[in-house]
Amino acid sequence: MKHTIVLNGCSETFLSQAEEVNGFAAAYLKDSRADKTIIFHCTDRHKPFLIANSPTPSTQLIRLPRYQPEIILRTLEQLEASSNTELYLFPGDFAGSELSPRLAYRLGGSSLIAVNKISRTENALTCHKAVYSNYMQAEFKLSERPYCISLAKGSTDPLPIAVENDVEKDVSEIDIANQEWNNTVLSFKGDQESEPEKACAHIVDYEFVKKEAASGLENANYILVAGRGVKMKEKVDKLHTIAGQLGAELGVSRPVAMSAWAPLNKLIGVSGIMAKPQICITAAVSGAAAFYTGIEKSKLIIAINTDRGAPIIRASDLAIVDDYEKVLDELVQIITEAQCKGDTSL
C-alpha cells in the first residue's frame, strides 16, 4: 500500500501531529510504502523545522496565508486527483478530523474519523474505532480508495522523528500565492481572482486569538480531576487550590467545562485532553466512557465518589467511597505535615 501523510504546519501543534502520525505508521503501516508528507505552512521561517520533523523522506511543502480548510481542500483536490495514493493519514486534531472526510468526498474515496487501529485486507482497509460514546469498539471495512482516515487521539504513543543525517530529504515546494502555479496546476488561467481568494470568498474578516498557555495536563505526572458531582464553580476553584497543595494539575470532565466552571483547556476526555499521568485522582466523577478514555492511560487511578455503584469505582485501581471534599482536605493535611517532616518529595 502507498500512503501519504497530511499535516498542518501552520499550527504550533505540528510536532505533536507529526509524532502522533509517525507512531501510528510505525505500529500499523510497516509494510506500506510512505509516498510523502504534505505539510501546509504559513511562513518560510519554520521550513527547516517542518522538513526535519516530516515523518517521511519525501516532503511536499505548500505555503498558504494561514490554515484555511477551504483552500487546503481545493489544493489537495487538484493536486492529488491523479495520484495513486491508497491511504491519506491525518492526525486526530481538529484540522485532521475536518479535512479527512471532505477530501475523501472530493476524491471519491472513503473515510473514517478517530481510527485507533488499521489492517490491510484484500481490496479493503479494516479500521477500528470507538463508537457508542466510547462504550464500544467497532470494526469497519473501507472499500473505496483512497482511504482518508484521521487518528483517534492517544491511540498510539507518539514517536519522535528519527534524525538520519546521511539521508537527504526530498523536498518540493508550492506557494499557492504564486499566480503561475495557480494558472498551470489549478487551471484558473485568466481569472481575476486567484484560487485562494475564490476558496475564501465567504470570509469577509478574520482574526486569530492564540490559545491561552497550555494547561500542562497532557504531560502531567499527577492530576486531580473534578467531575459533575462538584456541582458549582466555587468547588472547582477550591479543587484548583487543593491540586496545587497536592502538587497536581487540575483537570475537569465535560459537564464541568460545559458549565464554564473551568476553562476548556482543562477538559479531559475524547473531546479534550488525553492524559497519561502516573497518578490520577478523580473527585465526584461518575466515569462516563467518553471521559474515562482521557485518563485510561494513567498508571494509577484513584476514585473518590459517594456512590459505590458509580462506573468510575470499577474502572479505578483504588476507590474511596466518601465525600471528596472531606477526603481531600484530610489528604492535603497529611501531605503538608509530611512535607514539614521532609517525608515526601513534594
Binding site: 504550533e12 501543534t13 480548510p69 481538529f94 484540522a95 475536518e98 472526510p101 471532505r102 475523501a104 468526498y105 472530493r106 473515510s111 470507538a130 463508537v131 457508542y132 460514546s133 464500544m136 469498539q137 469497519f140 472499500s143 465567504h202 469577509v204 474578516d205 478574520y206 482574526e207 486569530f208 486569538v209 490559545k211 505526572n221 499527577y222 502538587g247 465535560r254 467545562a257 460545559m258 464554564a260 476548556l264 479534550g272 502516573q278 497518578i279 466515569g287 474515562y292 494509577l300 487511578i301 484513584i302 459505590r308 462506573p311 470499577r314 474502572a315 479505578s316 476507590a319 474511596i320 466518601d322 465525600d323 477526603v327 482536605d329 484530610e330 489528604l331 509530611a338 515526601t344 513534594l346
Partner: protein, 273 residues
C-alpha cells in the same frame, strides 16, 4: 436570514449498565430502555441558534428559524418544545431505517431537503453524536451543497449587512471570522450552551403548532436507504473493557481513609514523581 438547525435524539448511554451492552443481530444494541436526550452538541447548536436570533432581532434583523430531525414520531415531543422556544418551523423526516453508521446518507437527506426548500442560508449542526460517533455529517452536508463549512464553532453573532460573526476553536487558538452566507456551521465544545426551558405559557401558546412530517424516500433513493453506500461497512462490534481492580479503601472516617490511601498507596509513589 433563514437558519436551519439540525438535531438528533440519542439514548443517554451513560445510563446503560455494563451488562446492557449486548450486541444483537446486524450489530444492533438495544438502548431503548434508557432515557432519550438531545445529542449534547446538537443541544448547543439549538441554544446558539436561539441566542443568535435574540441578538439579531435586537438589531432589527428578521430571523426565521427551522429545526429538522430525522426519525420516528416519538421525536415530535422535542419538536414541540422547539416550537415553544420560538422556532418558526419544525420538520421531521420520517425514518425507520438503520442509519447509525451512515453519515453520508444522513447528510444527503439534509442537503436534498435544503435544495428542495431553497431557503436556509445557514445550516447549523452539532459536530458529532454518540452511537455512530461518525463526526462527519456537517462536513458532508457542506460538501453535498458545495458550501463552506466552519467546524468547531462555539459562538455565532450577527454582523452588519446579513453577515455572521463566527467564533470557532482551532488547534492552537480561537478563530473569529465574519462570514458571508451560505455556510454550514458545525458546533463544537461551546460552554454555557445548555438548551433553555420554555415557559408554560409559551408551551401553551406555541407548542401545539403542526409539525411538518416528510418521507425520507423523497430525499434519498430507496436502494441507498436499504443498503447505504458509505464506502465503509461495519463488520464487528464489541464492548470496551474499562475494568480495573476497584479496591475500595476502607475506614470509619474520611480522615482514616485518607491516612490509609497516603500511607499504603501514595507515599512511595509521590516520592518517585
Amino acid at each position: 436570514m433563514n437558519i436551519l438547525t439540525c438535531f438528533k435524539i440519542v439514548s443517554d448511554l451513560d445510563l446503560m449498565s455494563e451488562s446492557d451492552w449486548v450486541v444483537e443481530d446486524h450489530f444492533r444494541i438495544n438502548t431503548s430502555f434508557v432515557k432519550n436526550m438531545i445529542n449534547p452538541y446538537d443541544e448547543s447548536a439549538l441554544e446558539i441558534t436561539l441566542l443568535y436570533k435574540e441578538q439579531a432581532e435586537k438589531l432589527g434583523s428578521a430571523v426565521n428559524l427551522s429545526a429538522l430531525t430525522i426519525g420516528s414520531k416519538q421525536l415530535d415531543a422535542y419538536l414541540k418544545t422547539l416550537y415553544a422556544l420560538r422556532f418558526d418551523k419544525a420538520v421531521r423526516i420520517e425514518n425507520q431505517h438503520d442509519l447509525r453508521f451512515s453519515p453520508d446518507a444522513i447528510s444527503t437527506v439534509i442537503a436534498n431537503y435544503v435544495k428542495v426548500i431553497k431557503k436556509p442560508e445557514v445550516i447549523i449542526l452539532g459536530r458529532q453524536s454518540g452511537v455512530g460517533d461518525n463526526a462527519k455529517t456537517p462536513l458532508l452536508v457542506a460538501e453535498h451543497l458545495g458550501w463552506p463549512c466552519i467546524s468547531q464553532a462555539v459562538k455565532i453573532e450577527p454582523a452588519s449587512e446579513g453577515l455572521l460573526k463566527v467564533s470557532s476553536m482551532a488547534d492552537d487558538g480561537l478563530v473569529i471570522e465574519t462570514i458571508r452566507p451560505p455556510c454550514v456551521l458545525s458546533i463544537g465544545n461551546a460552554p454555557n450552551s445548555y438548551l433553555r426551558i420554555p415557559t408554560l405559557k409559551d408551551k401553551v401558546n406555541y407548542g401545539k403548532k403542526e409539525i411538518e412530517v416528510l418521507e425520507i424516500e423523497n430525499y434519498l433513493n430507496q436502494a441507498v436507504l436499504e443498503q447505504p453506500s458509505e464506502g465503509h461497512n461495519i463488520t464487528g462490534l464489541k464492548p470496551i473493557n474499562h475494568k480495573r481492580q476497584g479496591v475500595v479503601i476502607e475506614g470509619s472516617t474520611p480522615a482514616e481513609k485518607a491516612q490509609n490511601l497516603y500511607h499504603n498507596y501514595l507515599q512511595e509513589r509521590l516520592k518517585q514523581l
